[in-house]
C-alpha cells in the first residue's frame, strides 16, 4: 500500500514536471499552418499577416481559400494538413498573379518615406528627401507600398523569363 502511494506520488511529480517544463507554448497546429503560408505578409486575407491568418484558420474563423499569393498549392497543402476537402480560391480576396517584385522609378521618387513603414519585411531603403529603392531579393511582392506613394512611382515588375527561372515540364503538361 505504502509502495503504491509512493509510486503514485512519484508519477505525479513526473507529470507535474513534464507539464511545467515540457509544455507546448503555442498551439502546434498554428505553427504548422503558418509554415504552409507564403509569408508575403500582404494582408489580402484581411488579417494583419500570415500568422494571424493561421490562427484564424486554426480557430475555424477563416476559410483555407483566402490566400491569393499562395494559390492552389497552398490551399491543397492546407486541405491535406487539416484533412478537409480542397476548394477553389475565393476571388473576393484577390486574384492569382504572376510573381512580381516592387520597383521604384527613381527619377519620380520625391523621398517622402511614406512607403517605408508599410513594408512588412523592411525591403525598402531610403531616407527623407533621399531617393528610395527596393531590395528586390527581399521583396515579397505584397504591394502594400503602392497605395501610400503620393506620386505613384512604385510599379510591380514580373520576373523576366530567364533560363535560371525556367523549369522542365513533363510531356503531360
Amino acid at each position: 500500500m505504502l509502495l503504491l502511494c509512493l509510486l503514485f506520488i512519484l508519477l505525479g511529480l513526473v507529470l507535474g514536471y513534464a507539464a511545467y517544463y515540457l509544455k507546448v507554448a503555442e498551439d502546434p497546429i498554428v505553427e504548422k499552418i503558418d509554415a504552409l503560408l507564403p509569408q508575403t505578409q500582404c494582408g489580402q486575407c484581411k488579417y494583419p499577416g500570415c500568422k494571424p491568418y493561421a490562427q484564424a484558420i486554426a480557430q475555424g474563423e477563416a476559410d483555407i481559400n483566402q490566400c491569393p499569393p499562395g494559390g492552389e498549392q497552398t490551399i491543397t497543402a492546407l486541405a491535406n494538413l487539416l484533412g478537409i476537402e480542397s476548394k477553389a480560391l475565393n476571388t473576393e480576396f484577390g486574384e492569382i498573379k504572376a510573381p512580381a517584385v516592387a520597383f521604384i522609378i527613381e527619377q519620380d521618387c520625391i523621398g517622402c518615406v511614406k512607403c517605408i513603414p508599410p513594408c512588412p519585411v523592411d525591403a525598402i531603403l531610403g531616407a527623407s528627401k533621399q531617393m528610395h529603392t527596393v531590395i528586390s531579393a527581399e521583396c515579397t511582392g505584397c504591394e502594400l507600398c503602392i497605395a501610400p506613394c503620393p506620386v505613384d512611382c512604385i510599379i510591380m515588375v514580373t520576373q523576366k523569363n530567364k533560363p535560371t527561372h525556367w523549369q522542365w515540364s513533363t510531356a503531360h503538361e
Partner: protein, 487 residues
C-alpha cells in the same frame, strides 16, 4: 541489361564512333560567352563595350567557388554584352559577352611553371581556378573546388571511359597528347598526394590504350585499366565501382570515400594551365551524326558559334533533322546553330531524318520492371514516375530521385515509350523550386518578425518616456503646491 556489367544495370549500345584525328578550328568572326555558368551562378563581366581584349585575358570574374572565370579565346573588341541564345534546355536568351575578333589572335604572355613540385597545394589550386578550369566531361563543376576537398584522397581516377555513343573527343585527345595527359595526371597526383592513380579507358579503345601504355612506362605510380564498354560506365560512381569494387552510397560524394575522378580533357587542361601557364580557352569537340557530311574532332575555341564548326565538318547534308549538344543519351536539343559552344560541349550531334527514332506514342506503364533492372543508380523508375506524376514530392525524395544521373537507360528500354527522364527532370526542378520558395518564405517571416520586435521595442520605449515625463510633471506640480502652502 548486361550480365557482365561491373555495376548495376547499364546497356550495351552501338558505339557509332569514328575517331578522326584532331583538326584546328578556323578563327570565327565572333566569339560568344554566356555569363551563366553551372546551375544559378553567373560570372561578372570585368570589361565593357568597346574594350580591346587579348587572347587569354579574363573577361568575366567568378563570384564564388562554384563559378570559374571566363577568358577570351582570341584578340578583338567587345562588341556588346547583351542577351543571346545560349546552350540551355530552356532555349531562352541570356546575357552574353560577344567579342568581334580582329584576326590577329594576339595573346597575353603566359607564365609557365614547369617545376610544379615546388608549388604549394594552395598555389596549384589557385592556378587551376584562375585558368578557368571546370570538368570538361560535361558537368563543368569547377575543378579547383572539387580538388580542394579536406578529405584524404587515396585513389585518383582519370576518366577516359567515353561511354556515350558518337562522342570521341577524349579518345582523339589521348591519341594526340598522351604524354601531356600523363603530365597532367602527375600534377593531380602530386596535388592530392593520392597513393593510387588509375587511368580508365574502355576496352574497345585499342590505339588509345597503346598510346597511354607507352606514355606511362616511365611512371610506375600510374596504372592503366580497361573497363567494358557498357553505358554509363563513364559515370563517376559507376566507374569507381567498376574499377575498385567500391560502391559509393547515394547522397555521398566520391571524395568522402577517398576517390576523385577527373576527365581526360580536364587533366590535359590542367597540364596546360600549370606547365604552360595558359588558361582554358579551347577544347576538343566531336562534330558528328548522320546529318553532317563528315565527322570531325575539332580543337575549337570556347565561344565559337556552332555553325562555324558545322562548316568545318563539311556542312549539313540534306537529311538534317535535329541539332543536339552532347551525346544522343544525355544531350540537349538546340533550336539554332547561332548558339556558341561552351566548356561543357563535348559533342555536337546532328541527327538525320533517315535515322530510326524511338518517339513512338506513349502507352501506360505495365510495370514490367525493365527500367529498374537497367538503372545504374539502382532506383525504381516506375515508382518515381508514379510519385512524380501525382506530385508526391516527398516520396520522390525518399526514393532517392536526386541520385538519378539522367543517363536515359530507362527511357531506352521502356516498352511503353514513357519519357521517364523528362518526368524526373521536371520533378527535380519542381522540388528545387519548392525549396527555393520555402527558403524565401522563411527569410520573409524572419524579417517580418524582426520588424515587429523592433516596433514593439520602440513603442515600449516611447511609453516609458511618456511615463517618465508624466512622473516629472507630477513631481513639479507637487513641489509648487508645497511651495504655495508654505507661506
Amino acid at each position: 541489361m548486361n550480365k557482365q556489367a561491373p555495376f548495376h544495370g547499364g546497356l550495351t549500345l552501338t558505339a557509332h564512333k569514328h575517331v578522326s584525328p584532331i583538326i584546328e578550328s578556323h578563327l570565327p568572326k565572333e566569339l560568344i560567352y554566356p555569363l551563366l555558368q553551372r546551375a544559378d551562378n553567373y560570372a561578372t563581366p570585368c570589361i565593357k563595350q568597346g574594350d580591346h581584349v587579348l587572347k587569354g585575358q579574363v573577361i568575366a570574374q567568378a563570384n564564388n567557388s562554384l563559378c570559374t572565370p571566363i577568358h577570351a579565346a582570341s584578340s578583338g573588341t567587345i562588341k556588346t554584352i547583351a542577351p543571346h541564345m545560349i546552350a540551355h534546355p530552356s532555349n531562352l536568351e541570356d546575357d552574353c559577352i560577344i567579342i568581334s575578333t580582329d584576326g590577329l589572335d594576339e595573346s597575353l604572355p603566359y607564365s609557365p611553371c614547369p617545376n610544379y613540385q615546388q608549388e604549394t597545394r594552395e598555389q596549384l589550386l589557385s592556378k587551376i581556378q584562375q585558368a578557368g578550369i571546370s570538368g570538361l566531361g560535361g558537368a563543368v563543376f569547377p575543378t579547383a573546388n572539387k580538388l580542394s576537398t579536406p578529405k584524404n584522397i587515396q585513389t585518383l581516377i582519370i576518366n577516359g571511359a567515353e561511354c556515350e555513343p558518337y562522342i570521341s573527343c577524349d579518345e582523339s585527345l589521348v591519341l594526340q597528347q598522351a604524354e601531356q595527359i600523363i603530365q597532367g595526371t602527375l600534377i593531380l597526383q602530386h596535388l592530392l598526394q593520392a597513393e593510387n592513380c588509375l587511368i580508365a579507358i574502355e576496352d574497345n579503345m585499342q590505339q588509345a590504350a597503346e598510346a597511354l601504355q607507352k606514355a606511362i612506362r616511365t611512371h610506375p605510380s600510374i596504372q592503366l585499366k580497361k573497363v567494358p564498354s557498357i553505358y554509363p560506365i563513364g559515370g563517376e560512381k559507376q566507374l569507381i565501382q567498376a574499377l575498385t569494387g567500391h560502391k559509393i552510397p547515394a547522397q555521398s560524394l566520391p571524395a568522402e570515400q577517398g576517390f576523385i575522378c577527373q576527365n581526360i580533357g580536364t587533366t590535359h587542361a590542367i597540364y596546360q594551365a600549370i606547365i604552360l601557364g595558359c588558361p582554358l580557352t579551347e577544347r576538343i569537340i566531336t562534330v558528328t551524326g548522320k546529318g553532317v557530311v563528315q565527322t570531325q574532332n575539332i580543337r575549337s575555341r570556347i565561344g565559337t558559334p556552332i555553325k562555324d564548326l558545322i562548316k568545318q565538318a563539311g556542312g549539313y547534308n540534306n537529311s538534317v533533322k535535329n541539332l543536339i549538344m552532347g551525346g544522343p543519351m544525355m544531350g540537349i536539343a538546340l533550336s539554332t546553330d547561332e548558339i556558341a559552344v561552351t566548356k561543357a560541349s563535348n559533342c555536337i550531334l546532328v541527327t538525320s531524318i533517315n535515322e530510326q527514332s524511338n518517339h513512338s506514342p506513349e502507352m501506360p506503364c505495365i510495370r514490367c520492371g525493365d527500367c529498374a533492372s537497367v538503372c545504374p543508380a539502382e532506383l525504381l523508375p516506375q515508382q518515381l514516375l508514379w510519385y512524380g506524376r501525382s506530385k508526391q514530392l516527398e516520396q520522390c525524395q525518399d526514393h532517392q530521385l536526386f541520385s538519378c544521373i539522367e543517363c536515359g537507360c530507362c527511357d531506352l528500354v521502356c516498352p511503353s515509350h514513357i519519357p521517364l527522364v523528362q518526368q524526373f527532370r521536371a520533378t527535380k526542378s519542381a522540388i528545387t523550386l519548392k525549396n527555393k520558395h520555402a527558403a524565401q518564405a522563411q527569410l520573409a517571416k524572419k524579417r517580418f518578425q524582426n520588424q515587429q520586435k523592433r516596433r514593439d521595442k520602440q513603442e515600449q520605449e516611447l511609453l516609458a518616456k511618456a511615463e517618465k515625463r508624466k512622473a516629472t510633471i507630477e513631481k513639479m506640480k507637487a513641489a509648487s503646491l508645497a511651495r504655495k502652502k508654505k507661506p
